[in-house]
């Protein structure tokens, strides 16, 4: 590991200016803090947190819709636990549950399907959130639902995809990133090819990265090598879990059930073709189409700069509410909710802010 750190310092010397890197995935944000990587590297390396935290980017409208579903007669809403505390426009799923809405936390969409088999007289809607790591599993669950003949199971899809979000960041004016630390397990599914535009169209470096300290240091070294040589590419550092072609079976199942659509990212806004909706032929599973839930758009809480944080334009400590009005116990914005949200990670690991 010493050798890698030495190599990184040498590369920084030869580059001779600060370098801005973005970790796209919330798990990397946390890993970088946890391994103390900021402390052991030369100062010129600036880490920006990206949009890769599903909880942080699910828009208020989707949270409100999920809450509305949970309050309908004879409905059960099943959700991943991470979504429970995300503030909607008036309340969170957690609050709705406390008020009596039937909301169940599940570990897998398969558990939600099981709920449907066990509660035949109720409608079960699974709040489908997450990136490409998760959406194939929801497609797999629908495949299974079809096979066993369940007819009281539906999904509400808030799924999003990573490459279009990276493209949107690269297209925006206020974000200058020279290298991306690309997500590990999203890439287990999609492989390295969908990222190729980053190098070919934008001349920006990227490395698909694992989660231990050595993985991350090695990826940083690889990024700096690309930057120093002026030869951007998409490299895979995390070879133990990621192949160039990804997992074609998972991708084809995901594409069979879902198609791209424009989607809102909380704090960022609409990103073309960055969301997934069920294809028409699978409409019988689609809560959005079947139940006509009409929820108005709503605004983010005033002064929350979550959107700038996940675009890498600002850091959490730039926010006037950070650590004061907004804490993990009482989150104002979505970035403070998930442990993988940038604000929550800063709060927890930057020490200074812990009482």
């Amino acid at each position: 590991m010493k050798n890698i750190i030495k190599k990184i310092s040498d590369l920084m010397d030869s580059i001779g200016r600060p370098v801005r890197l973005m970790e796209v995935c919330g798990t990397h944000t946390v890993a970088i803090f946890r391994h103390g990587i900021r402390e052991i590297l030369p100062e010129g390396i600036i880490f920006l947190s990206g949009p890769g935290c599903p909880v942080c980017v699910t828009p208020i409208k989707d949270v409100d819709t999920a809450i509305a579903i949970s309050k309908m007669n004879d409905f059960i809403l099943a959700t991943f636990g991470d979504m429970m505390r995300v503030p909607g426009s008036k309340q969170s799923l957690y609050h709705a549950q406390a008020e009596g809405a039937d909301i169940r936390v599940v570990y897998s969409s398969m558990d939600a399907l099981k709920l449907a088999s066990e509660n035949k007289e109720r409608n079960i809607v699974f709040f489908a959130t997450g990136f490409e790591t998760t959406s194939p599993s929801v497609a797999g669950t629908l495949f299974e639902a079809e096979r066993i003949g369940v007819d009281n199971f539906y999904i509400y899809s808030a799924h999003k995809t990573i490459p279009p979000a990276i493209k949107a960041l690269l297209d925006s004016d206020d974000v200058r990133v020279e290298g991306f630390i690309l997500p590990g397990h999203v890439s287990t599914i999609i492989g390295s090819r969908p990222y190729e535009f980053i190098a070919s169209d934008y001349r920006v470096s990227s490395v698909i990265t694992g989660f231990d300290a050595e993985d991350i240091l090695q990826a940083i070294m690889m990024l700096l090598e690309q930057i120093a040589s002026g030869k951007p590419a998409v490299e895979i550092q995390y070879k133990r879990a990621v192949r160039e072609e990804g997992n074609p079976k998972a991708v084809s199942l995901m594409n069979e059930y879902f198609e791209p659509r424009n989607a809102n990212w909380r704090g960022i806004g609409m990103i073309p073709r960055s969301g997934l909706r069920l294809r028409d032929k699978f409409g019988r599973w689609d809560a959005e189409k079947l139940f006509h839930i009409d929820i108005p758009d709503s605004k983010e809480p005033k002064s929350c700069i979550c959107g700038s944080v996940i675009r890498g334009a600002k850091i959490p400590t730039d926010c006037p509410l950070f650590g004061r009005a907004c804490t993990p116990e009482r989150p104002v914005g979505a970035c403070m909710v998930s442990t993988e949200g940038s604000c929550a990670a800063y709060y927890k690991y930057s020490g200074v802010y812990r009482g």
């Binding site: 946390v30 897998s108 969409s109 998760t134 599993s137 997500p183 397990h185 079976k249």
Partner: protein, 78 residues
């Protein structure tokens, strides 16, 4: 949320497997898996589905790392 945890396959029946992760047993689906797997193999598991076969050595290292994280998390929240 996008973390996948290496788990050891204990038994397989059709497209479902029982895996062991940190001593807990769980049923997972093999529907998304490209590779053929056998009892004793390790797979990365996310949200109840195996998404990739991995080498045992890597699985052990990663399990150790995540265990440290989970423990740190627990300490921090106490």
């Amino acid at each position: 949320m996008c973390l996948a945890v290496p788990s050891k396959i204990i038994s397989i029946e059709d497209t479902t497997a029982i895996v062991d992760v940190y001593g807990a047993r769980r049923a997972i689906s093999l529907l998304l898996l490209e590779d053929r797997v056998n009892v004793g193999d390790y797979v990365l598991v996310h949200a109840g589905f195996a998404i990739q076969k991995v080498q045992e050595e890597y699985a052990e290292e990663t399990l150790e790392l995540f265990k440290q994280w989970i423990e740190a998390e627990r300490k921090a929240s106490n």
